[in-house]
Symmetry: C2
């Protein structure tokens, strides 16, 4: 390998230089403080876990996205976290075990074997919040509001929401007696809205004509909130669970209209995002010109069960680097730094300590150093005048 590419980074892996890192750190703090204000407590989950724990209850999508390692100590397989949500659920179910609703938030790098979506990143800085212990529209709406507050703080404009419910498709698939293979194939075709494929798959099912018609109707059930009225017609004879799912989405949409009247809501009843652990309402936020969602979430009530305690759960997550890239958030500008000469005078040392304690950046000059102090961001210099270290403009 020659010098020129010794520094190249793998595809989808990035690093942040000072200006970007400072901005990201400021946004990180602002968001975590916001989550604290909403009662969400920070947890820090492990970067690697035994593969079994990491993937329990999460489905095959996440498994394919997970980097695997061998543990030299135990000889067992480890996985690098590709998603923090299941880890937070494990902490709620196994470590905290509260009866009251538990609100957790987190931020951390995750790694994915393949780039996720249009940002092309394989190392998102996942930030998110999860609410455990309450099954109902109110907790989903709280999470949706916190997700939208996150995007507002990050300075994303013209955000719109996509709402769906995994129960619609799942219950229809069950009613149609579909095999796991058929269900996966139809799900995949629905995500692409590939009508000829959808028709072919549905035509091949053993299901009755009414159920087949409902499955075919799914591909059209997206648009404004009028979709919910249409869906009520289409699913009039569907299993109760399908109709309940539609009603649930309608209730969430109604609450959102009150809480966030300016946010356009789009309904897509064929939409089933994320890693297959969702069990109820699902949602995603988009901004114009980005095909990929900027934040997403939903309800996932079963995941804690394998860790000893099934708890209702809902949450959202986003990639902080994507929010930084697409949003207008900028940190407060830094004041110019102060250059302190290379002098061992204890009075200078005290003055430097005092300035730093007051929030100034003070850079010590190094004997014989190269470069212009202005290039180092300095606007002032400490200089001894009549025995006192005075701050003078450069």
């Amino acid at each position: 390998m020659n010098q020129d590419n010794t520094w190249l980074l793998p595809e989808g892996i990035d690093e942040l230089l000072p200006a970007q890192a400072r901005a990201l750190e400021a946004l990180r703090r602002t968001l975590l403080d916001c989550y604290t204000g909403w009662g969400y407590q920070l947890v820090m989950t492990p970067f690697i876990e035994f593969l079994e724990s990491l993937l329990t209850g999460t489905g095959r999508d996440l498994e394919l996205q997970t980097f695997k390692l061998t543990d030299q100590i135990s000889g067992r397989q480890l996985g690098v976290r590709a998603d923090i949500t299941p880890q937070a659920a494990r902490i709620d179910a196994h470590r905290l075990r509260h009866d009251a609703p538990t609100r957790l938030c987190y931020i951390g790098s995750v790694l994915r074997t393949r780039a996720d979506g249009l940002s092309g990143s394989r190392s998102p800085l996942q930030i998110g919040a999860e609410l455990y212990g309450h099954a109902g529209v109110e907790s989903d709406v709280e999470i949706l509001c916190l997700m939208m507050e996150t995007l507002r703080v990050a300075g994303l404009d013209h955000v719109y929401l996509d709402l769906g419910h995994v129960g619609v498709f799942r219950e229809l698939a069950a009613a149609a007696g579909m095999s796991a293979h058929e269900e996966a194939a139809l799900f995949e075709a629905l995500q692409r809205k590939a009508v000829p494929e959808i028709v072919a798959i549905v035509d091949g099912l053993q299901a009755d004509a009414a159920t087949r018609d409902m499955l075919l109707a799914l591909v059209e059930l997206n648009g404004g909130e009028d979709v919910l009225e249409r869906a009520r017609g289409v699913f009039a004879t569907a299993p109760a669970a399908v109709r309940d799912a539609v009603d649930y989405v309608a209730a969430v949409a109604e609450r959102l209209r009150q809480a966030l009247p300016n946010v356009p809501v789009h309904v897509d009843l064929a939409e089933l995002r994320a890693y297959h652990y969702q069990t109820g309402v699902v949602f995603a936020a988009f901004v114009p010109g980005e095909g990929q969602e900027v934040a997403r979430g939903g309800r996932y009530d079963q995941i804690g069960e394998v860790f000893g305690r099934a708890r209702p759960a809902t949450g959202f997550s986003a990639d902080l680097k994507t929010l930084m890239r697409l949003g207008s958030y900028r940190p407060q500008a830094l004041d110019g730094a102060v250059l302190a000469p290379a002098d061992n005078d204890p009075a200078l040392h005290d003055r430097v300590t005092e300035l730093r304690a007051a929030g100034s950046i003070v850079i010590r000059e190094l004997p014989g150093q190269a470069g212009d102090p202005k290039q180092m961001g300095c606007s002032h210099r400490l200089q001894k005048q009549a025995g006192v270290w005075e701050l003078l403009p450069l």
Copy 2:
């Protein structure tokens, strides 16, 4: 795998629950703000890199500590960072390319295949600072002072410093014409202060008697600052580079006495810590009762060369989780949270927003929720009285 251990974490891997995570986050911010005040700019380095870039110039210790992965996209080998210092050096040498001294700081998880030291952690949260572009005592002392400031802020008491210089051993080994194998064996025996082994290795060397005596003397050259005077005697006829190294350590010790008069300094000229990239003075901080250092660093002038630009470099790093565990730092206590009833009154919504903006934690009650608000950390409740949402103690 049964339910009981689905949640078990691999050896040396931990997770932080809310109280710990909040404390760590507070200390993180305090330290990064301190580094900013000293002119150190935050960078965020990638969690994985091509193995070649990651290990370039760092030596075999680090290679053994590095988890390896296969990149499904490029087919090449990736490594998970086990140390952030070489990454920061790459950023300085290849991305920033300033002429003036560059000060960088960082914080991030690193992973190690085997537990490092007594803390037993395989996932330290590495925090550190690096100063590039100045070769001399002043930059080493600045880094030493910032390291000690880090430990002071973290609330570690009775810290003492160990000072050494890799030049002493390296130059003697070169003068003795030692093979790489002999050098490694002697180095390893010196770290353990295994006198019979040291004698056997030195006796087997082709070197002249004077050089052999100097190598044997190394094991005794540790103690208070008087060691430096003894070393001057022992190395009177040694190559100039050996004597220069001793003088360099003496100059650093002298400056430290002025800057940090209360910090005990211990000198060990046989000590060669860390991952073999150090080239000059090396140092470590200890606290009583912990065999493992709590922070360490040193000069490593050559590492940037492979990335296209050799720059003098010095820096330190520590594990923030260790500092948290051993130090007395505690975050400000949280005020009790406010419980806001499940009520859609827009006036309540405004009051909640106002309280949160003023820094209060406000938790929305969820209809039918379990648990006692006091267990959720609430001390107050919003209640409508005469049409106004009032804050009442619980």
